[in-house]
Every structure is written in structure tokens, then in C-alpha cells.
Amino acid sequence: MENLLEVNNLKTYFYNDGAETAAVDGVSFELKKGETLGLVGESGSGKSVTSLSILQLIQKPHGKIIDGEVIFKGKDLVKMGEKEIRRVRGNDISMIFQEPMTSLNPVFTVGNQIMEVLTQHQGLSKKEARVRAIEMLKVVGIPSAEQRVDQYPHQLSGGMRQRVMIAMALACNPDLLIADEPTTALDVTTQAQILELMNELKEKLETAILLITHDLGVVAETADKVAVMYLGRIVEYSDVETFFEEPKHPYSQGLIKSVPSIDNRVDRLNPIIGQVPHPSEVKSGCRFASRCERVQPICLQDEPNLIDLQGHKVRCWMYSDNWIEKGVETNAGEVTSSRGA
């Protein structure tokens, strides 16, 4: 099947006070129709910037896409002009965000905000748009949609607002939905509702989803493929079953081990040491080297490429042919990294 979206070697850098920060540094992945890709990483990994870069929503002039292409249905979104990309936004590709509280405009009714997309892209009249908006609210499971459509965001609960966001995003039947941490700000019971809803809609509408999250549980339950990001790089990329069966990158392994499990209890967690460094602190070598338990001299010198192991890609020297593991001196006992801050 043809790829719906292809991101190739995307680089988005930020410039502040003359300093350059590589927030997204050569990210590539692809997404097919109806497929869900989970983009996983901790804060600062560049996953949100990646999603924003796709639609050129990076805040200028601080952030800039400096390289790479984003091919959507054969067209490079990066090269599109302001007018052209606007026709894609909300129509072919739409987004939902982490904070349903702040992502809706507080001074307009939810109906108004949904109708806006429809009048903009589908050329519907206000009346038609309103009918459709109510319909969409019903689709996302909002009770008494006829009344809700005239309410303001603050009159709705967090879960409802996220439903409204989804309704808005799906109003024009987009081919791709980018969901940036859609459930992080929600309570668990509400999160369950929203995840359920998204899965349901995905089946029904055959929308491809780029799901950005830090929660491996969410990925496992919703995604078909997983990409793990660390400091602007994809470090592991595979389908979801393979990934959870046998995570290959030490970072992925660490992540999974860090999370206390609800099912099996261990007496002591086994965390990754240290903190995520600031991108500027990593001068050369593997970006994870400072926290890796199996670090070797080569890791500090050169950065590994994404190595393809039968479709399971991983960015680690361990899987290269010339990997020689010497007696590992872990400093696992010391939880504090002197690299600090």
C-alpha cells in the first residue's frame, strides 16, 4: 500500500539568543492509510515539534524547518506556501492537542469553532455547517448535542472538550489525524473513554493517526507502529508487537523497565540513570550514551545509524556488525549524574 505520509530526514531547529537547538534532527517515518503510528518519548525528545513541523505550525522566527521533506499524498508540505498548506490543515490533516482546556478558544461556542472548519474547507453555509457540527458532536458521543453546540468550552468538562476537539478535527474527514498527547491531561477513567472513542473512530473512518505520547501503555493499546524518540532522533522504529515483545534499544528497554507495572510488582524499580541532557550538551556520539548502561567508547565517538533488523529499526551500535562489548563498567549505583541539569 502506498504511503499516506512520508517524513524524510526532517530537521527543525530553534534559535534563541543566538543559540541553536536541534529539536528535531533528521527524523524519518512513514504512515499508511488507516494506520496508527505511536511516536513515543519523554519531554524534550522532539516528538511534539515533529508533529507541528508536519503542518508548518512551528513558531516563527524562533523555530525553523531547515531540512527534510514531508510528503503527504505525493506533495511536499514543507515546500508549500502559506495559502496552500492552509488548505491541507484541518481538511486533509487535522490535529488535536494535549490540553483540551486551552486548545479551544474560550470566547466562542464549541459549535462556532466546529462550524468554522466546515465553512472554511467545505464551503458549507452556516446553517449546513451547524447541522453537521451537531452531527459530529453526536459522533464523538456528546449527549444532548443540540444544546452543547451553543455552549462555551468552559461549560464542558475536560473529557467533553477533548471530544469536541476530536469532532472538530474529524469534521472534514481528514486522511490523517495528528494527536499530540491527547489524553495526558485527562483522568484515567476519562482517558479510557477517549482512547476507546479514538479506536472506534479510526475503524469507522479509516483515518491514519499519528499518536504522540509518553505513555507506553497508550501506545500499546492504540498504535500499529511505534517510533521512539530521544533528543530529536528516532532511536527505535518498529511495529507495535515486535517492539513490546523485544525492545532493542537500551533506552526503550529502560523506559519499559522504569514504569511500575500494575500487574507484576517488583520490590525495586530499575530506572535509567541520570537525566535527559540538553541537546547542546551532546557534542558527539550516541545521544543516549550518557545514560546508557552498556556504553562503549565507540558510542561516545560516533553516532550510530538506524540499523534495520528485518523491519525493526534501531539506532544502536550493539546491533552493528563490529560491536565488541568490553567489561562494562556501569555506574548504575550512582543515581546522580554529574552532568546534571
Binding site: 505550525l57 487535522s94 472548519v117
Partner: protein, 319 residues
């Protein structure tokens, strides 16, 4: 909404009482009284003292306060010491002129300030923003009397485009549109002088409010929906940015009324400000007190109005 209004009105009662007490107290601290500006060798000091006595200037303070409050309730607000005119009437005569001036300045401040602020914010880091920023600083920094005199000098005296002062062309009994235009001509310069700092403040405030809103998540949402930049800026951003600007409504009112003192004085505008200056010179306590009271009530009302508008403009505020 009604409940909210009533609540706010009730809350303003203690403030009103405070205003009257403060107004009264300020006057009481003052040395000298209007009788003393009329010192005249021909009038015996006994006669002066008797007049003073008759005016109640020698009564105990609480008595004077309540006498005054009674006058406030009758609407007379007392009588001028020298001419015995009801002060309320005097102020009412001047009120329309002041409202015309401050009202025009007020409208000007927002009608000019808001678009400039929006323009500045949406052109951040570009030349127009810098130019407007510097201009707004100058607007805040220029003393109004200086600016006013300069305007008179240039536009009235040198160029002869504008009348030097006053509110109407005296002696010309104009009607209808001609009368309206006559007002427009006369109100232009003083209202610009009065409005300038407020324009600058409104502009700065709108700008920063816009910038703040432009950083909000829902703007990103609007962008992601594929709306045009103009629609994002004018519908989503401006509407939200204007809500805090409403507070400037309230804040600018005392500023404009204060500024009206000097502006009216310079432009000989027949409003409450020039009355105030006259009265201060003449130590007309009842007038000064009434003006203080009147202005502060206007300001309070303005603030009240701003609060109500705020509540009205922001659907998040419930009553």
C-alpha cells in the same frame, strides 16, 4: 447578569461613603478659605468674620460633613461661597463639555490604539512594530501641557487650521450640521492632546495582550484548522486580546479626567477641569469638593461599567 449588577452596585456603596469622607477630609486640611481671597481694606474684618460664620465655616466638622451630605442628596452639592450658586447646577453646566472632550478622547484612544496595537503585535520583530513602540513611548512621555501649547502654536497660530481654544465659534449661532462641524473642529486638538498618552497605553496594552494570546494553544488550534492568518488574528486572537483591554477602559477614565484639568485649562475648554482650576485658585471649597465627588463617582461608574463589560465580553465569567 442582573444579580451581578446589583451586587456590584451594593459593593460600591462603602466606596461612595469613603469618597465623600475623603473629599471632605481633604478640604478640611486646607488652610485658608474663600473669604480670605477677598481680603479688602474697605471691608471690616468683623464683617468678614460674620460672613464666614454665616457660611457655616466655623461649625464643628461632623456638622459640616452632614450638612454637606444633605446638600449632596438634594443635588445642590452646596452653594459657592462667593456667588451662592448651587454647585450642582454649576457642574451640570460644565459636564457636557467635559464629557464631550473626554468622551472623544476616550473613543479616539481605543479606536486608534487598538488597531495600532494589533498591527504592532502581528508585525512583531519587524520595522513597523519598532516604530510604533518608540512612538508609543513618546506618547506616554510627552507632558500634556507642553504638547498642548505646541499644538496651539503650530496648528492654530502658525498654520491657522484650528481654532486656538474654546468649544464653539463664539457669536456664530450655528445649527444642525454646521454646529456639529464646529464642535468637531474645536474638539479635535484638545482631544488629541488628552488622548495621546491613552492611545499609547491602549496600544501597548493591546499589543502585549495580543502577543500573549497569539502564544495560546487555541491559536495553534485555529492555525491547525487551516484558517487564514487574518481570521486567526482578527477573530480568534483579537477577541480574546480585547478582554483584558477592557480593564484599560476603567483605568483610563481617571487618567482622562485628571488630564482634562490641564487640557481644558490650556484650551480654555468650558468643562469641569477649567472650573476646577478656577475653583482651586479661588478656594471655592464647595465646588472643589463637588468636583472631587463628581469625578470620583464618574470614575467609579466607569470602573463598574468596565467590570460589567468584562463580564459580558468573557463568557467564562459567570454571574
Amino acid at each position: 447578569m442582573k444579580k451581578y449588577l446589583i451586587k456590584r452596585l451594593l459593593q460600591s456603596i462603602p466606596i461612595l461613603i469613603g469618597i465623600t469622607i475623603m473629599t471632605f477630609a481633604i478640604m478640611q486640611l486646607s488652610p485658608g478659605n474663600p473669604m480670605q481671597t477677598m481680603i479688602d481694606p474697605k471691608i471690616s474684618s468683623e464683617e468678614m468674620q460674620r460672613a464666614q460664620e454665616n457660611l457655616g465655616l466655623n461649625d464643628p466638622l461632623p456638622v459640616q460633613y452632614f450638612t454637606w451630605i444633605k446638600e449632596v442628596f438634594t443635588g445642590n452639592l452646596g452653594y459657592t461661597v462667593k456667588t451662592g450658586q448651587p454647585v450642582g447646577q454649576l457642574i451640570l453646566e460644565r459636564l457636557p463639555a467635559t464629557l464631550l472632550l473626554t468622551g472623544t478622547a476616550f473613543v479616539m484612544a481605543f479606536v486608534v490604539g487598538i488597531p495600532l496595537g494589533v498591527y504592532s503585535a502581528t508585525n512583531r520583530f519587524k520595522a513597523p512594530d519598532y516604530v510604533l513602540t518608540v512612538l508609543s513611548f513618546i506618547g506616554i512621555s510627552i507632558p500634556s501641557f507642553f504638547f498642548g501649547l505646541g499644538m496651539i502654536f503650530i496648528f492654530a497660530l502658525k498654520l491657522g487650521w484650528m481654532p486656538t481654544s474654546g468649544m464653539v465659534t463664539i457669536g456664530a449661532d450655528l445649527t444642525g450640521f454646521a454646529k456639529f462641524m464646529d464642535y468637531v473642529k474645536h474638539v479635535t486638538m484638545p482631544s488629541i492632546v488628552l488622548a495621546l498618552p491613552t492611545i499609547a497605553v491602549v496600544m501597548r496594552f493591546t499589543r502585549s495582550s495580543m502577543l500573549e494570546v497569539l502564544n495560546q494553544d487555541f491559536i495553534r488550534t485555529a492555525d491547525s484548522k487551516g484558517l487564514s492568518k487574518l481570521k486567526v488574528n482578527l477573530k480568534h486572537a483579537l477577541r480574546n486580546a480585547l478582554i483584558p483591554v477592557i480593564t484599560i477602559f476603567g483605568l483610563s477614565i481617571p487618567f482622562l479626567f485628571g488630564g482634562a484639568y490641564i487640557t481644558e485649562h490650556i484650551f480654555n475648554w468650558p468643562g469641569m477641569g477649567s472650573l476646577g482650576i478656577q475653583s482651586i485658585v479661588a478656594r471655592e471649597y464647595p465646588v472643589i469638593m463637588a468636583l472631587n465627588l463628581f469625578t470620583s463617582i464618574l470614575v467609579m461608574t466607569g470602573n463598574l461599567l468596565a467590570d460589567v463589560m468584562y463580564a459580558w465580553a468573557d463568557p467564562r465569567i459567570r454571574y
